[in-house]
């Protein structure tokens, strides 16, 4: 975890402060490593969501199948 101290205006916290436009536009710049890790996290979340969708689909089909209905009776 890396700590970054930025002027409040740079993240829109102080809209009428004394910061110039360059500071506001610069914002937080991620390093290449941080970008790489963020990308890998995003991919992992996407894969997990896809797996969940597939799992819910299969479970729904099985639960709603005639055998499944039969068991509920």
């Amino acid at each position: 975890m890396t700590g970054w101290a930025l002027p409040a205006a740079a993240c829109g916290e102080e809209r009428d402060g004394g910061m110039d436009d360059n500071d506001s536009e610069k914002g937080i710049v991620l390093t290449d490593e941080q970008k790489r890790r963020r990308r890998s996290r995003s991919i992992a979340i996407a894969l997990a969501l896809c797996a969940l969708v597939l799992l819910f689909y299969l479970v729904t089909i099985i639960k709603l199948s005639p055998a499944g209905w039969w068991r509920l009776l």
Partner: protein, 315 residues
């Protein structure tokens, strides 16, 4: 998984922490080694239970139990970050190493906990989901937040959390709690003290530095060795109880008796050897063998069940 988190707010500055956590760090939060034993014992509980559960539903139920265990692990690391930081065994975990924020671990753990319980309820039944919810609550709120820092009996009572998975697997398959699942619970419950106290015998300094009242720190090494032997003596017959009660066959019974004898023999050896390098080696051996003992016991129970459990029980 937060990318950028505001950690301080003042009129002049806003201090941000940028997440550098990798996917592996989030996996580590879930304690995958603990999770593997949980999944395996839950799998055996689900397989040996009477009745039939569709394989996909069974897989989904096991996934929920695994995720629930992972949630408990993440919440444990969230609460114990201060203790983990001063223990050499845990100092490299994601939170003390500074790769994951505590609040990220909390959010991650809570999301997994509620998600796993809800999905298990929908996929299997609400008894299994309730048991999973109670297990997570027990591990986090009772063991981690209370017992661990308060009493040398922490892992005895807290061991219940690790003993529930086969019962949850059983409940997922049958919708009930049978005597056999209670016996599986008892096996893990009485296995936990000799397993963890063997570890604590050569990690006592670590626990003392962190202020954790593990038995060797509070009661001393001789008392810990005595307790390991006592619990091993209780564990041996309980390990064989599924056979004694007629739930398992003679293959399981023979394995359980042999395994229990090895556990007792190693516990006696630890007590006889006492302090010193030899004693430490014996403690490490008991720790390793105890893992093998539990794995073999449950694996043979499963094989025995698949074979139709020839020679069930003594009566």
């Amino acid at each position: 998984m937060t990318d950028i988190t505001a950690v301080d707010h003042s009129p002049e500055t806003v201090v941000f922490a940028i997440s550098e956590a990798s996917v592996g760090d989030y996996v580590a939060l879930m304690k995958p080694r603990v999770m593997s034993l949980v999944v395996f014992t839950a799998f055996v509980g689900l397989m040996v239970a009477p009745g039939h559960l569709h394989p996909v539903l069974g897989f989904a139920a096991l996934l929920c139990i695994a995720i629930g265990a992972g949630a408990a692990g993440a919440l444990n690391m969230w609460f114990d970050a201060d203790v983990d930081a001063v223990m050499s065994r845990t100092a490299r975990r994601p939170i003390p190493a500074g790769r994951v924020l505590r609040r990220e671990a909390l959010a991650f753990g809570m999301t997994l906990a509620f998600g796993s319980v809800a999905v298990l309820g929908l996929v299997a039944n609400w008894l299994a989901a309730s048991l999973l919810a109670f297990t997570i609550f027990f591990y986090v709120a009772i063991y981690t937040m209370r017992l661990k820092r308060a009493t040398p009996q922490n892992i005895v009572i807290g061991g219940a959390a690790g003993a529930f998975p086969p019962m949850i697997g059983w409940a997922a398959a049958t919708g009930a709690i049978g005597l056999e699942s209670v016996l599986l619970f008892l096996i893990i419950f009485f296995w936990t003290p000799p397993h963890f106290w063997a570890l604590s015998l050569w990690r006592a300094d670590d626990y003392a530095r962190a202020g954790i009242p593990m038995l060797p720190v509070v009661a001393g090494y001789p008392e810990t060795r005595r307790q390991i032997l006592l619990y091993s003596l209780v564990l041996a017959p309980i390990g064989a109880s599924p056979w004694l009660f007629g739930y398992a066959g003679v293959i399981y019974g023979a394995t359980a008796i042999a395994g229990g004898a090895v556990m007792v023999w190693l516990a006696v050896k630890i007590k006889v050897l006492g302090d010193g390098a030899e004693g430490d080696r014996a403690a490490k051996r008991l720790f390793a063998v105890s893992i093998l003992y539990l794995f073999v016991l449950f694996a043979v129970l499963l094989i025995d069940d698949r074979l139709g459990a020839p020679g069930r029980g003594l009566w």
